[in-house]
Structure formats: C-alpha cells, structure tokens
Symmetry: C2
Subunit: 448 residues, 2 copies
Amino acid sequence: MTSTPELPLRNEFFLPTNSEVGAHRLLNDADKPCTYLCGNSLGLMCKRSRELVEEELGVWATRGVIGHFDHPQKRDWVGLADHARPYLAEIVGANEKEVACMSTLTTNLHLMMNSFYKPTSERYKILCEAKAFPSDQYAFASQAQAHGLDPVKTVLELSPRPGEYCLREEDILKVIEQDGPSIAVVILSGVQYYTGQWFPMQSITQKAKEQGCICGWDLAHAVGNVPLSLHDWDVDFAVWCTYKYLNSGPGGIAGLYVHEKWNDSLKPKYSGWWGHDPLTRFAMPSQFSPVEGAGGFQQSNPSILAIASLLGSLQTFRKAGMMAPLRKQSILLTSYLEKLLFQSKYFVPLEEVSTKYKEGKGPPGFTIITPRDTKDRGAQLSLLFLPSGTGVMQQIFESLQSHGVIGDERQPDVIRLAPIHLYTNEADCEAAAQYLNKAFDEFEAQAS
Amino acid sequence: MTSTPELPLRNEFFLPTNSEVGAHRLLNDADKPCTYLCGNSLGLMCKRSRELVEEELGVWATRGVIGHFDHPQKRDWVGLADHARPYLAEIVGANEKEVACMSTLTTNLHLMMNSFYKPTSERYKILCEAKAFPSDQYAFASQAQAHGLDPVKTVLELSPRPGEYCLREEDILKVIEQDGPSIAVVILSGVQYYTGQWFPMQSITQKAKEQGCICGWDLAHAVGNVPLSLHDWDVDFAVWCTYKYLNSGPGGIAGLYVHEKWNDSLKPKYSGWWGHDPLTRFAMPSQFSPVEGAGGFQQSNPSILAIASLLGSLQTFRKAGMMAPLRKQSILLTSYLEKLLFQSKYFVPLEEVSTKYKEGKGPPGFTIITPRDTKDRGAQLSLLFLPSGTGVMQQIFESLQSHGVIGDERQPDVIRLAPIHLYTNEADCEAAAQYLNKAFDEFEAQAS
Ligand SMILES: Cc1ncc(COP(=O)(O)O)c(C=O)c1O
Ligand SMILES: Cc1ncc(COP(=O)(O)O)c(C=O)c1O
C-alpha cells in the first residue's frame, strides 16, 4: 500500500509492547510494539494526552481552586470543555455551538431523547437497527416505558435480510417511508459496532426528515473514524463517546450535537447550572437561562482530567490534518488488511458461506461480514469464524493474542480488527494476517 | 487547641505555596505552603491520588484495552467504580449496595428525581431550602416543568426568619407537618453551601417519612465533612460530588445512594448497560436486568482517571481512620478558627448586627452567619462583611489572597473559610485571623 506521507503518527503514541499485552509466544520480540487493532474499542494514549493530564495534575497541586479561573497555561478549568468544541465541531461537521463536550454517551443519549422524543398516539415509534449496542437498546426501551408505552410495540428494529449481516440502504429507506408517519425518532448508530457497517447517514437522515421524523445518531464508532457532516445533512441530534477513535482513555468524557435550528424551540428538559449562561453562572441567579445550543444541555461541571486527556488526542488529530488525510489513510490501511485477509487460504467469501457451511458444518475458516465497499465502512473489519458456534473464534483469538495481535472478540463468533489511521502501520496489518493464518494452521493440525 | 495525635496528614497532600497562589505580599515566605481554607470548594490533591492517576495512565499506555479485564494492580477497569463503594458506603453510613460511584452531581440528582418524584394532584410539591445552590434550583424547577407543573407553585422554599440566616429546626419541621400531605419530595442540602449550616438531617428525614414524603439529600458539602448515617436515618436517596471534602479533583466523579428498601419496587427510569448485571453485561442480552441497588442507576462506563483520583483520597481517609477522628479534628480546627475570629476587634456578634448597622451604615467589620453550635455545622465558617453591600468583602478578600489566605467569595458580602481535617493545621487558622485583621486595619487606614 502507499501511505499518505505524514501518517501514521506512531511516535505520538504509547504503543503497548508484546510482553506488556501478554504475547507469550513472541519472546524474541517482547519489547517491540504489539499489533494493536483494537482502537475501535479503546484508542491508545497519545503522548500529548499524558502531558496535558500531568499538567492539570500540576495545576491542581500548585493552585488548588484557583485553577478554575486563573490557569498558568490559560486553560481555566471553568472553560476547559469549550477548548474541545472547535475540534469536535470540525470532526462531526458542525458549528461550534452545535456541540458540547460533556458527560457520557448513554447519559447524553437519554438527555437527547428526553428533549426530542415526544410520542403522540400517531407518531410514537423509535426506529433503530436490530442488535444495536445493548446500552442503546436498554435506553430506547426505557424511554418507551417512561411514556407508558410497550417497548415491543414502540421500538421498531431494522433487521438484515435472511442470511445477511448488514442492512441494505433500500430496505432502510423503505421502512422509513412505509412507517414514517408512526415514527417519532430514527436513531441508528453511524457505524455499527458489530458489523462495522457505515450506514448511509445522509440518505437516511434525508428520508427521515421527509417523513417528519426526528433523526439522531449514536456516533460511538463513527466519530474520528469516518468523515461526518451533521449540520449539512440536517441531522437533529447526535451523541458519541471519545474513548474509541478519539483516544480519550477509558470512560473518557463524551460529546453531544444538536442542530442549531432547534435553538429557539428546544430547551433542555432537565437543567443544571453548567448549562446556564456562563456570564451569570457564578452570580447564581435563581432563574435558569441556558447557553444557546448544545452547551445548554450541560448539567454539571466536567472532569478536568478527562477533558485534558481528550484534548491531547484532539491536538494530535489537528497535527495529522484532521479527518480528510486520516480518512484517506484509514481506507488505505483497512483495504490493505482486507487484501491480506482475502489471500488467506482460510478465507471464505461471504456469498459462499451458506453453501459451504450447510447445517453448520465445514472446515475451519472465516469470512468478513463488514461491507466491501469503502463508502459503507470505517476502519473496522468484522471477521466471522466458521463453522459458527463451534468455538473456532475463541481459539483463534487466544492464539492471536499470544502473538501480540490485539483485536476484540464478540461472542460467539466474531473478532473485530481495526487498523487506526493515527498509529497503525502496514506491518501491523501483515502481522495480523500472518498470525491469523498461523492460528488456523495450528488449529487444523490439532484437530487432525 | 489540642489536636488529635495523627492529624493533620499534611504530608500526604500537595500544598500550594504562597507564590503559586499569587500571595504577592509574602515574598519572604514565597515557598511556604499557603493558607488553603477552600477545601469546601475544591479539595487539595493528595499524593496517593497522583500516584493512582499515574498508574492508570501507565496501564493505558502499556496494556490498552486489556486494562479493562486484566489489570497489573488488580484494579480491572470494568470494576474500578466498585473499589470506591466500600469507602463511600462507610462515609455516608450505608451498605455497599446502597451506593454507586458514578456520573456527576446534578445528573445524579435528576436520575433520582426521575425515579422518586412522582407528583399526583394531591402530593406534588418539592420542599427545599430557599437559596439552594442554583443547580439544584434549576433542577427542581425543570423537574416540575417536566410534569407540566408550575415551578412557582410546586417548589416550596424554606426561608429563615426575618433578619436570620439559618433555618430553625422547629420551623423546618413545622412546614413539613403543615404541608406534608402536599409534599412529594423533601430535598435539602445536608450542609448548606452558603451559610455552612448542617441541617438536622435525622429529624427532618423522620418528619418527612412520618408525613409520607420521599426524603432525599444533596450532600455536596456534607460528604466527608460531617458524619452521616443515611441508612439508619431512613433516608430514601442522596447524591453528592467528590471534589470538595473528598478531594477527587476538579469535576471529579460523583456518588449516589438509594436505600435498600427500594430495591424491589424502584427501577431506574432511564437505563444503560452499566447498570446491567455485570455477570451478563458483556454477553449483551437485549433485556435490561439491573444490578440490585444503587448500581442499577449507572448508565455508562465511568472515567478511570476520575475514579483513580478519588480512590487516592479515599485511601487517605482510611489512613486517617475515616470519619470519627476526622470529625473530631474538624470540630477542633473550626472551633479554633472561630475563637480567633471572635477575638478580632472587627468581629460583630450576629445578634448585634441589626442594631449596629442601622440603615446599612456602620464601621467596617464582619460577623459569622454559620451556627455556633458544632452540631449544627461542619468545617465551614461563613463570614458576612459589614456594612453589607458596600464592597468591604471584595477588598478584604483580595488582601487575604495577597497574603496567601485562600477562601471562597460569594458576592456580595460573604467569604467562606473551611479548615480541613486532613490537611489544615493550627497555624493556618492563626494566619487567616491575623491577615484578616491586617486587611481590616489597612482598610480603615485607607478610609480615614
Ligand atoms: C450544593 C451543591 N449542589 C450542586 C452542585 C453542582 O455540582 P455539579 O456541577 O457537580 O453538578 C454544587 C457544586 O458546587 C453544590 O455545591
Ligand atoms: C454504539 C455504542 N453505544 C453506546 C455505548 C455505551 O457507551 P457508554 O458506556 O459510554 O455510555 C457503546 C460503548 O461501547 C457503544 O459502542
């Protein structure tokens, strides 16, 4: 593959070594970086994040409460979340006031649903993909229940066609068209966590709007991964976490977007002082007067350590030139990994799976359920191990780990691998393919 | 004063120096610790907190995603919040399952109100203190509005008698008795942020329960400050932040308590995967099955850096012997500071203020609006500067700061000073009184 010249920025990151991740079969390369393909679950730490966290610890140690208003690096804590906004706005394709850096993903999802989901007897359904991330499923069900509605009748799930894993654009649009008048909110994930499918966000949003539905997105796996234009696509709201492609660290602070067209008509349902106009926030008037835009949804003063850690990564995004070059690099890397996987003798094209694995039997192998077209996916490839339900995945996963290839397992049969634009290189892709083949070879040898 | 032998644990903390806090009139003592009396706003950083944050950064750097389940210090991130629970339970007087370490204060307040506030046409009021912390006021008003109620008619505020600053127990109990049948939720702050009054929590809770009201508490200024027995007092719910007396750092992770008697009948209204039974959380079933107790209210995976920082302080609390010795030390310190302030020639006893400052005129001075009885207050003393509304406070505040005395100003007339059991010493109290007198001397000299 031909890499974009400046990327990856491996040196900006802490790369766990083989020994550190327990790669016990790579004793000779114990101190070399492992093959980290799990940035879709937890992004690696960049050096700038560590630096900024250390700096904030230092300010706390030396200034105490004064850091809120008089910060040696001019990052007064009282406004620190606002430092993240320009970056986040650019990454999701929005105006600065349309985004807020706050709280956590599921909490933000509820905040948004609390303001946007207003079911009536005609228009009450929540449309999402089947097998959405469980937290979203729980959130949608509880939102329905909060309005006295039966989740089973309220939450409408989009399922793939029989034998397929991804949703077809035409099928999604058809459901929105057919059920439109009864759908209150269309809320899918931008990139599906399990299959890696990048949904056609623009056309779904457009169709939802045509049908008078609110359209929101869970961008957990999309933000920092694929280019987004929330404002121009006319998306109503979106929420995301930052610990995946945005590398903010475990449980990092989340984000939220609200289209500015809602500024006048939509107020936060459950307010807190951090959403109050900063000019009078500390005068502490008893009447709530929200910040215009997404910021009005803030309830509490946010964790400074969490924001500092995120900021370090966002500055590294800037150094890389933000999403355009990163997306280019990401396509190159994922395509390269895919090419190597296609060459594996254990690879089974998706369209051959049903005939080759009749009644769940057949030789050990794998297929890729993520769409092939780069416009329908982000960085992640989801490998489905065959025959399904026979435990092949688990053994391969452990073998990969013992060779320092860190992916992410989803029981019973899937391993997700995500080369990351900022820090993965070609050799990582090659190592993943090589050790995958080795794992299969050994699996076969064992079985015979 | 006679100090408890082991306290303070000053050496366990980073004490900002005079030069670091901008004490420009103490050039000769520039490198000595400042007089930090602002732990009621932001607690200082203890060394163990820094250590633990550094350790978690190290785990992220060296293990990436593996830290969630296989942590070198046996603090798997997936369960890290649970490490804080035993400490928090002990500090608030609850069983472990009754508390959760999660989210932020105002957000938790809404979560609790969402489950506990169920207004009917007869019983719909929210009883709180007048001039509650603004975030709470906004929260209560928006909770009323979310149910289509008028906040003005719904939120019932307890005001002090004319000319008084604190609420009298008898007055609070009388209102609960008189309005009981129309009150849905009694929710006050445990220790009032402005006056420093520690409300008689047990008798208020008991009276509220007698009247069939839900009783909740905002413990922002109470937790880690005064001893609490939430479970035994039969408190229904409570919420708190940890960045004040619990020293977790700016915007630190918050806490939540729900009495176990609610386990069967009360479910989280808005659910998320982190409240789901951990045994099946990663199997990701589509049906939500909450953790028993407070943990079921968790929505999202929490910030590891924020928890690590809190844990460091909680371990330091343990080292100090937890709340019993700390409260003893706190009483000694605050009483000592009060004694020194009483001796100031600028001190005006509260009962003399109205006669001495007729029509808002009189010599520069100060009184203390915090209750005198130690059973009615925590660490904080709230100084009211006189004559009120004339800007005395602002000048004194700046003078104190120039001498390294860090308190907390509340416009227009109050400075709050809080000696902290864990790290304040007698000399701090003496410095505060000394520089306060000096500030007044200079103020007078200027004026004449
Ligand atoms: C009594 C009280 N309630 C609520 C809050 C708001 O806290 P947060 O911003 O953590 O939600 C504070 C903050 O100082 C407080 O003192
Ligand atoms: C698509 C999606 N939604 C929601 C969540 C839940 O995130 P949180 O725990 O930050 O609320 C995740 C977490 O991985 C996710 O991938």
